[in-house]
Amino acid sequence: MALSIEDIKKVAHLARIEVSESDAAATLTKLTGILSLIEQMQAVDTTGIEPMSHSQDLSQRLRDDVVTKANLREEFQKNAPALGNGSAEPAVAGGLYLVPKVIE
């Protein structure tokens, strides 16, 4: 499956990574190389083979539905990034995180 510049732009959008025009061309070359490596898989007949997600084939453990974690909000919010657009203040207010307005 040959990749195009349009594919790179679409995937970059899905991944929320800005890619400039010049980067997109360079990325296309590198990703095409990686995908041709991956294509070797297609030669294998895997009909009827159960997919393996985890070596021990364990199912998820269940636990009682009770609170087990302490509230570390203040501790966590010390790592908030700077607000940006000219403000070096942490992007938090009143225990909440600040992001650009999304609803008018």
Binding site: R63, K78, N79, V99
Partner: protein, 489 residues
């Protein structure tokens, strides 16, 4: 003292021949002397480190000792350690101060070990040369113009240059074993699920596994006694009885069945590396091992499968870095989408972005069956190869890496060539099996430099104690593991 084993250091500390503060200071002084050129550490915090050493001395004075009490250990910068800068080698987390401890950090603290500092690594553990680190490459202590391997390159250089008593690493596709091979020391990737991933920054969750990087198999066994064990905070942690990984070290190897997979000795293996591995196998014969030819026919598929599964899992795991709650946020942006796009474009390096894009592509609409599902099916074929092999042998041996340390810059622009570094290690991760690399000798580079070669030992599930025994017995009759790079005494 810098060459002493962990057991010897423990005995010296307990006999009060040396204090933990003195021992720790010795390593801090060496770090100050050599780290500016080697770049093994990303962050140091002498105040915290020495406070832990003082606490260890108080514990020793009170007679409350464990085998690693007072011993300074370097921690890969992928492990959250409360109050420590924890970057995972990325600009994205350059200012991140961990608000809690990873499980293994809690375990080392409980054992009274001292956190000596956080070691350099490929960004988000994606790399085989440590060249993708935002904090710069790491020098191979055996030859400064070469890479130490990766992704645990800082821990590798720190162990090889004796800038710590031992270190931790993580191994998703070979990131403990390949640097152990390239830097000439002993590294173990345990069975998937043996060591908790809690507080270890996620790359590919179904493959990531932490393990010890140290001077000998005996040291690794003592580290495993601290690191391994059930932790309910990791959903894939295995609930098994606590075991003593030193219990079988002294067992003789008479009758040990060693399988040699023909795929590990074919094209792509450097001829001089091959000779070193053959000499090591001959040594095992002398120790009473029986050598059996085996085949792992799907080895060649392990790299394509890995480069679907690992990027797919990474693209999901790394979606958390959005510039909202922590990590890098772009300085200028127009709206929320622009903030995400710019923060991630600026915060991640080129290799991380490539893998996120590959992962996003293979998981995107219409491609899931052709890539992700197919890769998971072939993953089972790769695991079944090992099930068949272990019907015939106790351990599998071969090279850990196809070549000795390569020069910095040599493969950095060719991702596929870099990925092939892990041809002998990746299938073990896909199968979830334990693997280790031990020093087995030296090979001459083209320009006449003598560089270390690692012998890989792969064991069956939960067979770490036997693998450590197999490695330890070899280290009783050889001295490769005691060699250290010239000029760093």
């Amino acid at each position: 003292m810098i060459n002493s084993s962990l057991k010897q250091l423990g005995e010296m500390l307990q006999a009060k021949k040396i204090s933990s503060v003195e021992l720790t200071q010795t390593f801090l002084d060496r770090i100050q002397q050599y780290n500016p050129s080697i770049n093994a550490y990303i962050s140091l915090d002498e105040t915290k480190t020495l406070a832990q050493a003082k606490a260890a001395d108080a514990r020793i004075a009170a007679g409350n000792v464990a085998p690693l009490t007072g011993i300074p250990i370097a921690q890969k910068d992928i492990f959250c350690a409360k109050g420590w800068q924890t970057t995972c080698g990325s600009k994205m987390l350059a200012n991140f101060i961990a608000p809690y401890d990873a499980h293994i950090i809690t375990q080392f603290d409980a054992a009274g070990a001292v956190n000596l500092g956080k070691t350099n690594m490929d960004e988000f553990a994606m790399g085989s040369s440590n060249e993708t680190s935002y904090f710069g490459g790491v020098k191979n202590p055996w030859s400064f113009d070469r890479v130490p391997g990766g992704s645990s390159g800082g821990s590798a250089a720190a162990v090889a240059a004796r800038l710590c008593a031992a270190a931790t690493g993580t191994d998703t596709g070979g990131s403990i074993r390949q640097p152990a091979s390239l830097c000439g020391f002993t590294g173990l990737k345990p069975t998937y699920g043996a060591v908790s991933r809690f507080g270890m920054i996620a790359f590919a969750s179904s493959l990531d596994q932490a393990g010890p990087m140290a001077k000998s198999a005996e040291d690794c066994a003592l580290m495993m006694n601290v690191m391994a064990g059930f932790d309910e905070r990791d959903s894939t942690s295995l609930n098994r009885e606590k075991e003593d990984y030193t219990r079988d070290l002294a067992k003789p190897l008479q009758g040990l069945k060693v399988g040699l997979p023909k795929e590990y000795f074919s094209e792509g293996l450097d001829a001089d590396v091959g000779k070193v591995i053959e000499a090591a196998i001959a040594e095992y014969k002398k120790l009473g091992a029986e050598i059996i030819d085996i085949s792992l026919p799907n080895t060649g598929l392990s790299i394509p499968v890995y480069y679907v599964l690992a990027p797919a899992e990474a693209s999901s795991n790394l979606s958390r870095y959005d510039g909202v709650r922590y990590g890098h946020r772009a300085a200028e942006y127009t709206d929320l989408m622009d903030m995400y796009n710019k923060s991630r474009a600026e915060g991640f390096g080129a290799e991380v972005k490539r893998r996120i894009l590959i992962g996003t592509y293979v998981l995107s609409a219409g491609y899931y069956d052709a890539y992700y599902l197919k890769a998971q099916q072939i993953r089972r074929l790769i695991a079944q190869d090992f099930v068949e092999a272990f019907k015939k042998c106790d351990v599998i041996m071969g090279p850990a890496a196809p070549s000795t340390a390569f020069k910095a810059g040599e493969k950095v622009d060719d991702p596929v060539a870099m990925y092939l570094q892990d041809i002998y290690t990746i299938s073990t991760n896909l199968a979830g099996l334990p693997g280790m690399s031990i020093p087995a000798g030296f090979a001459q580079s083209d320009d006449g430099v003598s560089l270390p070669v690692g012998l890989q030992i792969i064991g069956n599930y939960f067979d770490e104690a036997r693998m450590l025994n197999v490695a330890h017995q070899y280290q009783q009759v050889t001295d490769w593991h005691t060699r250290m790079p010239a000029g760093l005494e």
